[in-house]
Point group: C2
Chain length 148, copies 2
């Protein structure tokens, strides 16, 4: 991906500004590819992340604060995100016995099953996005990103 070509400019972009723009362009591409990969399952990237977090809980239910903490992109409104997953039958929700302010959110078997399919789609998307990278380069990239 060439920055100047992508945003159709002939100007010389200062290095710092170029780096920021570059990261945004890459993120846009990532989002596009992943959103496409998830389209057949009719879940958004955010919803997919919630499912993944719930599976990571290994049966232990999660509440909204926990979900929010662990999400890659924090949302101001996790309630409605969960609402959508409930409608689809992928998660369940009930109020916590020990602390009735909290809710307990769990992934259903249907949710687990569809998540397995999505794993494959996601793996393909990742492979596609990163096919030009060696392991060495990915390590290098991660190291640089740590500086943020």
């Amino acid at each position: 991906m060439n920055v100047e070509e992508t945003i159709k400019t002939e100007k010389i972009i200062p290095l710092k500004q170029r780096s920021i723009i570059h990261l945004s362009l890459v993120e846009n591409k990532i989002n596009e590819v992943i959103t496409n990969a998830l389209k057949p399952y009719e879940v958004s990237l955010q919803q997919f992340n919630v499912l993944r977090i719930l599976r990571g809980q290994k049966g232990k239910p999660a509440n909204l604060s926990t979900l929010n903490e662990r999400m890659v992109t924090k949302m101001s409104n996790t309630t409605r995100l969960v609402d959508k997953l409930i409608t689809k039958g992928f998660v369940g929700r009930e109020t916590c016995e020990s602390n009735r302010r909290k809710v307990e959110i769990t992934i259903t078997n249907k949710g687990k099953a569809i998540l397995l399919d999505m794993d494959n789609a996601m793996k393909n998307a990742e492979d596609m996005l990163l096919d030009k990278f060696t392991t060495e380069e990915l390590n290098q990239l991660n190291k640089l990103l740590d500086k943020f």
Copy 2:
């Protein structure tokens, strides 16, 4: 920024998946910092980018397709984005004489003036985001991002 800490997981994340997540987290941070930097001017990042493109035109008016081509994040609806900038008095719009299907969008003096202020705010934001990077490292980062 530590990925595992940020999304509160103890698991080992596969390298490719970790790279994608890492990029998303970085982009989230960038967005947050920049959105904050632009808040005093009451323009969104998208609107700022339109203003910057228009300035780059050096007086030559732009039409919607041109704007869309050059935007970092492509939008499905540039009309309404421009609407908002017109309301604020930062840009002007009139239908093109030679081809009445097209519109001519230009930045106003008021728009240019405020853009100068925003330049400073943006430069600060960039410096803040990238303060841990050497020039060498930024070049390395850009080179890696080219692989996308």
